[in-house]
Symmetry: C2
């Protein structure tokens, strides 16, 4: 397991983002309407025709490299493909994570029908996915250090309403190769889920350092 990066210029970043982000947003909308559609079989077939046509178009050219793109100016990985924060992954809400000067992170975003567990409530595993990600991001200083989750514990205080939510995380302490992070998920009524995690620098990064 190692990191490699392709650097992308600010101009190319803007071009790709303005071209591909609307595509991902359109897919998010489609996921939502697909879950609860009740149209008849003829209409399903017509929609399927459009989805097949779109797939064939987008398949014509695929990025070959599996390296992560890194922004030339900020030096940060883009993580465009990431299922929690990826602007190009329709599975991601996405969380857009803000980094404060004190090292803490937060993100405000909306969770719609695709993230529903019990009716009206966010699936508990989705809460765990998002908290795992933001804790990892705060522990690795915005994914710029190689750190992997050792253990994460997630405590559900109550259900999280679908709709606008806020995730936040901070580093509690670091001891050698271990970083201890803590975070919260909140809905409009306050904290719903707490998480604490231990993040570890992998052996290859220690050797390299």
């Amino acid at each position: 397991m190692e990191f490699s990066f392709d650097v992308i210029s600010a101009e190319e970043y803007t071009r790709q983002r303005s071209s591909y982000e609307p595509l991902t947003d359109a897919l998010r909308r489609l996921i939502d309407v697909g879950i609860h559609t009740a149209v008849d079989e003829t209409t399903v077939q017509e929609a399927l025709g459009h989805l097949t046509a779109a797939t064939e178009l987008l398949e014509r050219e695929q990025r070959e490299s599996t390296s992560t793109l890194r922004h030339a100016d900020t030096g940060r990985p883009l993580a465009w493909a990431n299922p929690a924060v990826g602007l190009r992954n329709a599975i991601a809400p996405p969380m857009v994570i803000e980094h404060e000067a004190d090292g803490s992170c937060w993100s405000e975003f909306t969770l719609g029908p695709a993230y529903e567990g019990p009716p009206g409530w966010v699936h508990g595993g989705i809460c765990a996915l998002l908290l795992d990600h933001i804790l990892g991001e705060v522990a690795s200083e915005g994914l710029s250090l190689p750190k992997f989750t050792g253990t994460i514990s997630v405590k559900y205080l109550r259900g999280t309403h679908l709709g606008p939510v806020r995730a936040e995380a901070f580093v509690e302490r670091s001891e050698g190769i271990k970083t201890y992070a803590r975070g919260y998920l909140r809905d409009a009524d306050g904290v719903t889920v707490e998480a604490e995690g231990v993040f570890i620098m992998p052996a290859w990064a220690r050797d390299a350092g």
Copy 2:
């Protein structure tokens, strides 16, 4: 927070599943090709046209009820909209969970590019999402009992390769309103992630009982 159900006949289940499952599979394929497409702006626009047309078709009739569908024969909730196991939610791999006579659960499925964290590896938060779900399912006897996650701890032994994986879970013990469950995620090389969780019957279900 309460459960309500609409019962669906075996015939209607088969009809809806054969009609809507291919739609969800087509969306999963689109999510994957969308993440790494490198086509030019003209082609993106053409694809967007198809996505918009498909959205308009599927929006024409949406299921109004927010109740969970329950199969008339098995009595089990379908959880079609669920982001871990939902056959109609393109975010879900989906896990199709098998229930053994001893109460344990397992599922074998494939995790593709949409679930990638570090290049070539499953995002740790996705592992947490899937384990949270299968532990909840084993603790609630196939979602047939109202049980909510209290706490879940997820321990990452090593990275999980993208590709075929297996999730499994069993109940360790029950104490009053609490059920203790444990589970594992495996790739071709063995166990990669362990999880243990405490699941709690909510107050309204206790009162009802």
